[in-house]
Symmetry: C2
Subunit: 313 residues, 2 copies
């Protein structure tokens, strides 16, 4: 029975999801993963955010990079380079097994969510990880060079081209995973947590799936977001850069404003406490920078305590 | 300009091809590779005989197994097993790069021969390696359990089920690679060498491609085969077992008989010299067991010398 439904992108979101998983019993946490970063590469179906969640919740993530597996080997990439293959996206030898197996099963007609549920079980993960949809959604980035597929911009170009606009290809045909909608109307649900992920490219590809945003407005459980911006900067990734390029102030208040129709509580970092007066929402300031496992668990505890106190607007 | 055209399966044939490559200048050796062992596995296009030829001629083969690469890592297989994936066919991490890249390029519409030529050039191979055809041919094995795909029988079942018959699916639609037919009518061609490979599953899937056998009968160059059977036994693989199960004598004479319409010379091992009287072909007995690189080169030298002396019937 899901008590907490978390929406998450990759690294930052996965850290809070891990903290939550330490405080909840098996089955009480469902994490909805962004699929806008998914892409086909070398003929393989790759789901970076889902995989970061899987590896993080299984405790086998690479702590240095935040993505991929620890104790990884790189023979595949080395040989691929020797053969003249595309080497701009790093695929570890162990990571590759997940992509090959996912691709094989998708081609055989299985939904992404079923494949990922099996993998999560194999990896001993107690939380449920759900792709936001079993239908494809692909984030595209408009730059001065034209529209780029997300990973071409994010990894291939290291986020360098200025962002003018974003598009989520396929979004109009995508349906929220039915288990998400069921969970949102379940009286057992105690809170929805929007993890400290990039709003533009991690959370909004989830929210933009037709019916998703309305279901989050309609749920009786309080909706709580944690800012991914601390002191005007992203802990990791291009969130602050994108905010500026898209014409927003680089600050937590911008994140809060994007979720204002949904939120019952917005959690800011302590250093941003003064921004509360600029946010037309109930706020809470707390330590949000998750350097250690203890930090992750502490922030999760803050979120769960806030959920108990939050009242639905 | 091709002087020697060799027909080869995997390990045994690749050993003689390597010996020949040591004695010929770049471009003088063309090796025609069996494609009947090719299969799709985990969504990847795998060509075991071509790859063994590539790795052997590049000097990066695994000397212990005869297939795959040396200095290989196995992280992919380990993780695939953890994920519940099919682990009956071993794919090393470096080997996988070749399969992924081949699959990607085949799906993009490139012919297998062009992809393999690029890979051979990347690996620094001076000989030309040609798939027998750019069209698919798939060997199937009839057993007491019904028809099995070749690799299911060969690797999956370790050749255990008794062989009742063989079939080469797709053979009627396959065309010999045009460069093979061109080479066979080229006056510069000095010999065709049928390498010591399994006749039933390595050489005959080549010969059975419509037009191939006739082109080999019609070529003006002498055709010379080396027996893969020494003293009634195969050096490696199921050749002798298959011979017996298919109702033939397990001996070099059976190999000679299967090529009798093509051959100008049949090379037997010294230990089989007495069999010459049972073979209705010119024969030569020589040391044929290739344990070392020197053995491979010595046998290649024997073959080339015999080619100079051989007269087309």
């Amino acid at each position: 029975m899901t008590r907490i439904l978390a929406l998450s992108g990759g690294i930052g979101g996965a850290k809070l999801a891990l903290g939550l998983s330490h405080l909840l019993a098996p089955g009480e946490l469902t994490v909805v993963a962004n699929i806008g970063d998914d892409f086909e590469h070398l003929g393989l179906a790759i789901s970076p955010d889902i995989d970061t969640l899987l590896y993080t919740l299984a405790g086998i993530e690479n702590p240095a990079s935040g993505w991929g597996r620890r104790d990884e080997t790189w023979t595949f990439m080395k040989v691929l380079r020797d053969l003249g293959g595309a080497d701009w996206f790093q695929l570890g030898d162990g990571d590759l097994a997940l992509h090959v197996e996912r691709t094989r099963r998708l081609r055989a007609g299985e939904p992404l969510s079923a494949i990922m549920a099996d993998v999560a079980a194999r990896l001993g993960i107690a939380a449920r990880i759900l792709p936001a949809s079993d239908d494809p959604v692909r984030t595209r980035v408009k730059t001065g060079e034209g529209w780029l597929d997300f990973q071409d911009w994010f990894v291939g170009r290291r986020c360098a081209p200025r962002v003018q606009a974003l598009d989520f290809a396929g979004i109009n045909l995508a349906r929220p995973h039915p288990a998400i909608l069921q969970t949102l109307i379940d009286p057992a649900l105690e809170a929805v947590v929007i993890c400290p992920s990039n709003p533009f490219i991690s959370i909004e590809p989830i929210l933009a799936i037709p019916g998703m945003r309305q279901a989050l407005r309609d749920t009786r459980a309080p909706v709580i977001a944690v800012s991914p911006i601390i002191g005007g900067q992203a802990v990791k990734g291009p969130t602050a850069k994108m905010m500026a390029e898209l014409g927003f102030e680089s600050g937590a208040q911008t994140v809060g404003a994007r979720y204002a129709d949904l939120l019952d509580l917005f959690i800011l970092d302590e250093v941003d406490a003064a921004l509360a007066q600029r946010i037309a929402l109930p706020t809470l300031s707390a330590p949000t920078w998750m350097r250690t496992l203890e930090d992750r668990i502490a922030l999760a505890r803050t979120v769960l305590a806030a959920a108990r106190g939050a009242k639905r607007a």
